[in-house]
Symmetry: C2
């Protein structure tokens, strides 16, 4: 199966701007991509990266700046396709195996806040629409085209890193490139009465 | 195995105060508890509720206002114990089965933001400390007492409902008492550029 990891290589992760400079956002994005590619590789897959700009990584890179929907829907003409987002630094080979295990036409991995962080598609008519609460749209599209749908219940696949508060999840649970990058950049957990956050020294 | 669901019956979910009145927070807490008890019952368990104040629900209730650590550590003198938090309205019988499936001394279900949303304990020396980033403390305690540790990778178990933004997860993914309560109270999804939030009519 073809496995594609889309990534923004130019101005990624703008919602992390309050805590990371543009260069740091690019570096952190590369660290997260490293972790995602390692997990896919560890599960026996050969991922390809599609980036909006050239990016160094341990996989073949195609540069394509058309936007996610156009790009993925073009790829969905293939017989079977998996798309795994690049900002999922907690995923492990075991998580990847859980994503690929169900024998369904469409397998969705919901993200926190309504996104779709990964999917596997084995149906010719399924297509994506990443705007808004995409997980609802993808459920609807699967039903409309008559595709069997399964969802993977995984915290590690659900945890995409978009906002400063998300960095706490990387420090709490990560043990690879992204968490090392954050620690080297001076981030550490900050405890208060509610959920754990981060602070930078 | 004894299965206990601790809940705050008096002034629950204070971090939802910006969007829910005290009475509404109590009602919504009962709706979430209903969903948790139904999932446990559906998986074949007979949960008991321990509440800080009397609360109506479909399970035997013990009132105990000592605080979570004291309460749970007293129960941990039992041979085997599972504790499942009451604010996990997305869990299903299948999720419950995943929590109980591993044959480990201690099984932890991490919550978002460093919490421990559920655990199963089959080791005589394990104890809990829910302050701060409890998942880290529970990993450390399991190692210190020589208990085999497994973590369950579940978004549905990770999604505890504490803050207004969390309500979006219930509307996106829930289909039982808690999501019905929110819909009846006028909450609906609000789409913006980032993650999906909620608004109230």
């Amino acid at each position: 199966m073809r496995v594609v990891v889309p990534v923004s290589g130019s101005d990624p992760k703008t919602r992390l701007s309050p805590v990371l400079s543009p260069d740091e956002r690019r570096e952190f994005t590369k660290a997260m991509l490293t972790d995602v590619l390692a997990a896919l590789d560890g599960a026996g897959y050969d991922p390809e990266v599609v980036s909006t700009a050239p990016i160094e990584c341990d996989a073949p890179v195609t540069v394509d700046d058309r936007g996610l929907d156009a790009l993925v829907n073009d790829l969905l003409t293939e017989e079977a396709l998996a798309v795994v987002m690049a900002d999922l630094p907690l995923i492990t080979p075991e998580t990847v195996e859980r994503l690929f295990a169900p024998d369904a036409d469409v397998v969705l991995a919901p993200g926190l806040g309504g996104g779709t962080n990964a999917f596997v598609c084995r149906h010719p008519d399924f297509y994506v629409d990443y705007h808004g609460a995409s997980i609802r749209d993808h459920r609807r599209i699967a039903a409309e085209v008559g595709a069997d749908l399964t969802e993977v219940d995984s915290r590690l696949l659900a945890t995409d890193i978009d906002e400063p508060a998300d960095l706490a999840e990387v420090l709490l649970h990560g043990d690879a490139a992204a968490s090392e990058w954050l620690a080297d950049a001076g981030f550490e957990l900050a405890l208060d009465d509610g959920r754990v956050g981060v602070e930078r020294e």
